[in-house]
C-alpha cells in the first residue's frame, strides 16, 4: 500500500484528530493554540505535496487516487486558502469559548475538497464531496447564537443535502451503466452505454458538483453564506470548494463520449451562472453579499474552461490559472473584510481610504484583479479563458463573458467609489495583527503572481490529467 502517495492528506487527517483532542483538554485561553497546530499541519502537507510535484502523473491505490499536476496544483491553492483562513481566525473567534475544534473542521473540509480534486473514482468523488460538505455546515453556522448565521447554515445544509443526494443517485446510475466506479474503466464502458441513462447520470453529477462550485442551479447558498457565516470561513468556502469541484468536473466530463452534448449544457450553465451572479450583485448594498454573488459569477467564468476542456489542449492551464487568480483575489478581499471586523454594509465603507489607506489599497487591488484589469493576475486568468474559448469555437461564450465583465465592473466600482470618494464617518476598528498579516500575505502573493505570470504558466503548461 503506497502510503507515501497520501502523505499530505494523512497529515491533514492526523492534524485534525490531534486538534480535536487538544481542544477537548485545553482551557479557553489556550484554544487559539489550535490555530498554530493547524498551520503546522498545513505547512507539512504543503511541503509533502511539493515533493510529489516532480513525479510523472500516476494513479495510486488501484486507480482511485490521481496524483497528477492538476490535482497537486489544486491542492496547493486549497492549502494556501486554508492557511489564510486559519491565520485570519484566532482573533475573530477569540470570544468563542470553545473554538479549538473549529480548526479541526477546517482541516476536515480541506481534506474533503482535496479528495474531490484527486478523485479518479466516482465513489471517491462522493466521499470527498460529502466530507467537505458535512464539515462545512457547522463552520457556516459556527456563531450559533446569531440568527443570520443559523439561517445561512440551514440554507447551505438543505441545498447541500438535496444536491449531494442527486450526486449519489448520478453515481449509482453511472455504476449501473458500466458496472464499475473506476474512471478508466468507466470511460471504456461508456462508449456504448445507453444514452438516456447516461444523460440522467451526467445531469445528476453535474448538479451535485454545481453545489460545490456555487454555480447555477445550486448557487443560492453562496450569498447567504457570504453574509452570515464567520468572515474567515467565507474566505475558505468561496474559494476552496470551487477549486476542488472545478477540477473534479473537468476530470469527469473528459470521460464522457464525444456524442454526448455535455459541452453545450456546461456552456449554458456557465452563461446563466455568470449572468445571474452579476445581475444579482448589481443592486446589493451589503459588501459581503455582493462578493458572494460575484463569487457565483466567477464560477461561471471558470466553467468556460470546462466547456472546452476536451477541445483545446491549453484549456486545463486556463482553468487552473483562472482559479488561482480568482482564489488569490477573493482571499485578499475577504481578508480585508475580516480585518475590518467583518463590516459589511456598503455605507460603512465610506471614506475608508482616509482612515485605512493600506487596507483600502489591498481591497482595491483585489477587486480590480477580480474584474481583470491588467497587469494583475486576474487579467491573465480571464485572458487565457477567452483565448481557449475563442480558439475552440465558442466565440459567443467569450462575448457573453466580456459583457458580464463589464457588468461586474459596475458593482466593484461602487465599492471602490464609496471607499475613495466619500467622506469618512466614525472610527474604523480593526481586528489585530494576525488578520493584518494574513491580509498582507494574500495581497503579496497576488502581486507576486501578477509579476511572475510567466513562471506560473510555465509550471502549468505541461499539466495533464493522469488518465
Amino acid at each position: 500500500m503506497p502510503v507515501g502517495d497520501l502523505l499530505p492528506e494523512l497529515i491533514l487527517l492526523v492534524g485534525a484528530v490531534i486538534i480535536v483532542l487538544f481542544a477537548a483538554f485545553s482551557s479557553h485561553d489556550r484554544q487559539a493554540w489550535a490555530a498554530g497546530l493547524a498551520l503546522v499541519a498545513l505547512a507539512l502537507a504543503t511541503g509533502f505535496s511539493v515533493m510529489q510535484w516532480s513525479r510523472a502523473p500516476m494513479l495510486s491505490f488501484s486507480g482511485v487516487w490521481a496524483l497528477d499536476g492538476p490535482a497537486i496544483a489544486a491542492k496547493w491553492l486549497m492549502l494556501f486558502s486554508g492557511a489564510v483562513t486559519v491565520s485570519l481566525s484566532p482573533q475573530w473567534m477569540r470570544s468563542d469559548r470553545r473554538h479549538g475544534e473549529y480548526y479541526a473542521l477546517i482541516l476536515f473540509a480541506l481534506l474533503g475538497m482535496i479528495m474531490m480534486a484527486s478523485a479518479n473514482d466516482s465513489m471517491q468523488l462522493v466521499v470527498g464531496v460529502l466530507l467537505s460538505s458535512t464539515a462545512s455546515y457547522p463552520l457556516v453556522a459556527y456563531h450559533r447564537g446569531w440568527a443570520p448565521a443559523l439561517e445561512a447554515g440551514m440554507k447551505y445544509f438543505l441545498i447541500g443535502a438535496l444536491t449531494n443526494a442527486l450526486l449519489v443517485i448520478g453515481v449509482v446510475v453511472l455504476f449501473g451503466l458500466v458496472g464499475d466506479t473506476d474512471y478508466a474503466r468507466t470511460a471504456e464502458a461508456l462508449v456504448d452505454a445507453d444514452p438516456f441513462a447516461l444523460t440522467i447520470a451526467t445531469a445528476c453529477i453535474v448538479l451535485g458538483l454545481s453545489f460545490k462550485l456555487a454555480a447555477f442551479p445550486a448557487h443560492a447558498w453562496m450569498p447567504d453564506v457570504a453574509q452570515g457565516a464567520p468572515a474567515p470561513v467565507v474566505a475558505l468556502l468561496s474559494v476552496a470548494p470551487k477549486i476542488g469541484a472545478a477540477v473534479a468536473l473537468a476530470r469527469f466530463v473528459l470521460l464522457l463520449p464525444v456524442d454526448q452534448a455535455w459541452p453545450a449544457i456546461v456552456a449554458l450553465i456557465a452563461a446563466v451562472t455568470m449572468t445571474l451572479g452579476n445581475l444579482a450583485a448589481l443592486r446589493q448594498s451589503d459588501v459581503r453579499r455582493l462578493l458572494g454573488w460575484s463569487s457565483v459569477s466567477q464560477s461561471g467564468y471558470a466553467l468556460m474552461a470546462v466547456v472546452v476542456i476536451g477541445a483545446h489542449p491549453q484549456a486545463l492551464r486556463a482553468l487552473l490559472a483562472f482559479l488561482a487568480a480568482y482564489a488569490l483575489a477573493n482571499l485578499a478581499a475577504f481578508a480585508v473584510i475580516t480585518h475590518l471586523r467583518g463590516r459589511t454594509a456598503l455605507d460603512d465603507y465610506r471614506g475608508l481610504a482616509r482612515a485605512q489607506p493600506i487596507v483600502t489599497a489591498v481591497l482595491i487591488v483585489a477587486l480590480l484583479s477580480l474584474v481583470g484589469i491588467p497587469p494583475l493576475v486576474g487579467f491573465f486568468g480571464k485572458f487565457l479563458l477567452f483565448e481557449v474559448t475563442i480558439a475552440a469555437g465558442y466565440g459567443w461564450l467569450a462575448v457573453v463573458a466580456a459583457i458580464n465583465t463589464l457588468v461586474s465592473l459596475f458593482y466593484y466600482l461602487r465599492v471602490i467609489a464609496v471607499t475613495m470618494f466619500k467622506a469618512p464617518e466614525g472610527e474604523v476598528h480593526v481586528l489585530g495583527i494576525w488578520s493584518w498579516l494574513a491580509m498582507l500575505a494574500s495581497v503579496v502573493v497576488l502581486l507576486v503572481a501578477s509579476l511572475g505570470v510567466e513562471w506560473g504558466l510555465g509550471l502549468m503548461a505541461s499539466l495533464r490529467f493522469a488518465l
Partner: protein
C-alpha cells in the same frame, strides 16, 4: 532605452508622491511638473535621434515578460507615435503645472492628485509607445483607472456618476478591443502579440467573415474611445464634471488613443479589411463632423460646447484615416497626405483643445459656472484671458497660419482626391465650427458685462505661462510645420505604401 525612461520617470514620480506623507501641495506640484518635463525631454531626445529614412519603428526596447504567451515588454516609435506621444507629454506638463480648479478641497489631498496625473501620464505614453498588442491593451485599460479616480475625486457637479459612466462606457470598448486582440493573436502562427510581426504578415488578409468580425470589434472599441457619433454620449458629461486639467488630458490625450489605435491596429494590420470598409467609415466620420459641429452650436454650456467640438475634430481625423485606407492605387500621394493630415490633426487638436479646456478650468475657478449666458464683456477686464482664448478658438476653427489649418487642409486635400463628394460635405463642418466659436467669443468677451463679474481677475502668472507654451506650439506648427511633417511623412509613406 530612451522611451523606457520616458515611461518610467512619471511612474516613479507617481510612486514617490503616493508614498510621501508630508509634502505640501506646492512642492508636490513642482516635483510632478519636473518629472513630467523630464519625460517630455526624453521624448524630445528620441525625436532628435529619429531617422526619417530609417526603418518604420525605431528606439525599440524589448524585454521578456510572458514568452509562453508571446507577450513581451516591447516599446518603440514610428513618426506618428512619436509626434502624438511628444504632444501628449507636453500637454501633461501643462496640465500638471496649471492650477487645479477644485474650489474647496483640503490641500493635502492634492499630493494624491499629482500622483494620479503622473500615473496617467506614464500609462498614456505607454499606449503610444507600446509595440506589443497586449501591452497596448494593458496601458489602454490603466488610463481608464487613472482617469476614473481623477474625475471621481477631484471633479465637480456629479463627479462620481460621470466617472462611473466614463469607466463603464469606455471599458465596454476596451473589452471589444480585447476580443479583437485575441482574434488577431490567434490568427498568427506561432501566436504572438508583436505588432511588428502583425504589420508585416497581415495575417487576416482575405479571410472573410473572421477578419470582418475582428475588424468590427476593433473599430467598435476604438470608436467608443475616439468617440465617433453614435457612441459619443459618455464624452460631454465626463468633460463637464472633470477638473479642468483632467479635461484637457481627456480631450487632448485620451481621445487620441482611439484614432492612434485606428492607425496602429486596423489600419496597419488589416489593410485588406479596412480598405473594404473605408467608405463606410468615412461616411460615419462625416456624420460625426457635421453632427458634432451642429450639436456644439446648440450648447449654452461653455465646456459642453468645447467637448462637442472635440467630436467634430476627431471626425476629421477619422476621415483622414479612412481616406488613407481606401484601396485606390493611383491615389497614393493623396492617401499619404490624408494620413499625415490626420496625424497633424491629432497633435494640433491636442494642443488647441488642451488649451481651451485649461481656460475652461480658469473660468470655473473664478465663478463656478459654465453657463455662457452668465458671462459677457470680459475683453477689457481680462485681456490676457481674452487673447489666449481668441487665439485657441481661431486655431480650432481652422484659421490659416495656425495648427488646425495645416491639418484640416491636408485631410481635405486628400479626401478630395479620393472621395470628392465627402470633402464637399465635410467643409460644411468647418463653416459651422467657425460660427460656433465666433458666437462663443462674442458671448464671453463682448457685449455688456454682468454685475457679478466686476471683480473677475485676469490670468495669473502660472496660468498664462502654461497657455503661452501651448499657444506657441500652435503657432509654430501653423507657420513652420516642416519639422513635424518630415517626421510623420516618414511613417505615413511606409504605412500607405509607395516609398
Amino acid at each position: 532605452m530612451i522611451l523606457t525612461v520616458a515611461l518610467a520617470v512619471p511612474l516613479l514620480g507617481a510612486l514617490a508622491l503616493a508614498g510621501s506623507k508630508r509634502w505640501s501641495a506646492m512642492r508636490a506640484r513642482w516635483f510632478a511638473t519636473g518629472a513630467a518635463a523630464l519625460s517630455l525631454l526624453a521624448l524630445i531626445v528620441a525625436w532628435f535621434g529619429f531617422d526619417p529614412s530609417g526603418p518604420l519603428f525605431q528606439h525599440v526596447d524589448e524585454v521578456r515578460w510572458v514568452p509562453s504567451l508571446g507577450v513581451a515588454y516591447r516599446v518603440g516609435v514610428d513618426g506618428i507615435a512619436l509626434a502624438v506621444a511628444t504632444m501628449s507629454a507636453l500637454l501633461f506638463v501643462a496640465a500638471i503645472a496649471y492650477p487645479l480648479d477644485a474650489r474647496s478641497e483640503p490641500r493635502q489631498d492634492h499630493v494624491q492628485y499629482y500622483a494620479w496625473l503622473l500615473f496617467l501620464q506614464a500609462m498614456s505614453l505607454g499606449v503610444f509607445l507600446a509595440l506589443d498588442l497586449l501591452l497596448f491593451y494593458v496601458f489602454f485599460d490603466l488610463t481608464l483607472v487613472g482617469m476614473y479616480f481623477l474625475i471621481g475625486r477631484w471633479g465637480h457637479g456629479e463627479p462620481q456618476v460621470s466617472a462611473l459612466k466614463f469607466f463603464l462606457y469606455t471599458f465596454a470598448g476596451s473589452l471589444a478591443l480585447l476580443l479583437a486582440i485575441i482574434g488577431l493573436y490567434l490568427s498568427l502562427d506561432p501566436h504572438s502579440f508583436d505588432m511588428r510581426v502583425l504589420i508585416e504578415r497581415q495575417p487576416l488578409a482575405g479571410s472573410g467573415l473572421y477578419a470582418g468580425l475582428v475588424f468590427l470589434a476593433l473599430m467598435l472599441g476604438l470608436a467608443i474611445k475616439t468617440p465617433l457619433v453614435p457612441l459619443h454620449t459618455w464624452l460631454p458629461q465626463a468633460h463637464v464634471d472633470a477638473p479642468g486639467p483632467a479635461s484637457a488630458i481627456l480631450a487632448g490625450v485620451l481621445l487620441k488613443m482611439g484614432t492612434y489605435g485606428m492607425i496602429r491596429l486596423p489600419f496597419a494590420m488589416m489593410q485588406d479589411a479596412f480598405a473594404r470598409y473605408a467608405l463606410a467609415i468615412a461616411i460615419i466620420a462625416l456624420v460625426a463632423i457635421v453632427y458634432g459641429a451642429l450639436v456644439a452650436l446648440g450648447q449654452r454650456n461653455l465646456k459642453r460646447r468645447i467637448a462637442y467640438t472635440s467630436i467634430n475634430h476627431m471626425g476629421y481625423t477619422v476621415l483622414g484615416i479612412a481616406v488613407a485606407a481606401a484601396a485606390f492605387s493611383d491615389t497614393d500621394v493623396a492617401r499619404r497626405l490624408a494620413l499625415t493630415g490626420a496625424t497633424v490633426e491629432m497633435v494640433a487638436h491636442g494642443l488647441i483643445t488642451g488649451a481651451l479646456f485649461l481656460i475652461c478650468g480658469s473660468f470655473w475657478q473664478r465663478t463656478g459656472e459654465y453657463d455662457l449666458d452668465r458671462y459677457g464683456g470680459l475683453a477689457r477686464q481680462a485681456p490676457l484671458l481674452t487673447g489666449f482664448t481668441v487665439l485657441a478658438a481661431f486655431a480650432s476653427l481652422g484659421m490659416p497660419g495656425l495648427a488646425g489649418f495645416v491639418a484640416e487642409f491636408q485631410i481635405f486635400a486628400g479626401t478630395f482626391a479620393v472621395y470628392p463628394w465627402l470633402a464637399v460635405i465635410g467643409v460644411v463642418g468647418i463653416l459651422i465650427t467657425a460660427a460656433l466659436f465666433l458666437d462663443l467669443l462674442r458671448r464671453l468677451f463682448f457685449g455688456s458685462r454682468p454685475l457679478h463679474l466686476v471683480d473677475f481677475p485676469d490670468l495669473n502668472r502660472a496660468e498664462w505661462g502654461v497657455l503661452a507654451v501651448l499657444t506657441l506650439g500652435i503657432v509654430v506648427i501653423g507657420i513652420a510645420p516642416r519639422f513635424l511633417l518630415t517626421l510623420i511623412e516618414a511613417s505615413s509613406a511606409v504605412l500607405v505604401g509607395g516609398r
